[in-house]
Assembly symmetry: C2
């Protein structure tokens, strides 16, 4: 029997992704976002929702560009920090001792030390409520050679992304392999 | 040094959520979606992207409602199956031996056996490309008492959601606890 918990943002898993943008004078900034996902296969697009009050919101509106950086487990403290302070007051890259690098396809910086980054150009902006959703067309994905698997794509067990639990405020790593998609369902 | 992989839908983690809808004659249907996330805190909203060709797409357009069901690891084969076949041809609930239950706040069914479900009313529809994004206002979250933690919210280690790796087509469980959000960043 299910218990009703009311209208809440309770859905697992949520990602822990870091949005890279430039400020008005070109200052690199990094902000953590969990209200985000791939939202289209063709063209490849990602959706990320930010509050208007954030520094990153204004940065994205001004340059219509951002990067999405995927931290590994080892970066969990930096990722949490990037969601706790504002780039209006702090140079977050310097505080976290991480390195901003200019993206090659869009006007935004990425985090050199994180294993995977998506370079995104804004193609839609949707006002929803407290959050505004930016749809970014993915112009390139870049990954460290060390996290690539035999397929040439990033191996999730090498990337070791962080899983966020909204409302309960937990971070977890990824766990055991459960099977191959579009395959194990045949054995239902 | 990062290697460029081109414009691809490569971002970890992606969720494995099952969209519950009614067909034209009220047939309950279930379809797996990974291009989905929470997208607004107030009002609480979720975004889910579907291809127009799917049975669920027409069902959502017709009733402007859907449920998002979170399967546990133990349901991974059913979740994979729900993404492989179409409700135009198959009664997926019957094939997976799972039970459709009418949601209480929206005109859609949920999966009784899955631990958490969100009942959603469509408030925006956005054409992106191959995928159309539906923004659903979350009218209620329902969870099995067995997965609730001390806070009264679902405990992610009891829910044991499935993590999808796009393009590499992997399913994983969640792993070790890494820390508390909005907290461990203070120790940076």
């Amino acid at each position: 029997m299910k218990k009703s918990l009311g209208p809440r943002t309770l859905a697992f898993p949520a990602p822990v992704w870091v949005v890279g943008t430039y400020g008005p004078e070109g200052q690199p900034n990094a902000m953590t976002a969990a209200w985000a996902s791939i939202c289209c296969s063709s063209p490849p697009c990602v959706a990320v929702s930010l509050r208007k009050a954030t520094y990153s919101y204004g940065n994205i509106v001004a340059r219509q560009a951002f990067t999405l950086n995927i931290p590994s487990e080892e970066h969990v403290k930096a990722a949490d920090y990037f969601g706790m302070v504002t780039g209006k007051e702090v140079n977050k890259f310097a505080a976290a001792r991480l390195t901003p690098v200019a993206a090659t396809h869009v006007d935004a910086p990425f985090v050199a030390e994180f294993p995977v980054v998506l370079e995104c150009k804004v193609i839609h902006t949707l006002e929803i409520g407290l959050h505004t959703q930016f749809i970014g067309k993915i112009l390139d994905v870049k990954a460290e050679a060390a996290v690539l698997g035999e397929s040439g794509f990033p191996d999730i067990e090498k990337v070791r992304p962080i899983i966020f639990g909204p409302e309960i405020r937990t971070y977890h790593g990824i766990g055991k392999y459960l099977g191959l998609a579009f395959s194990i369902g045949k054995d239902l």
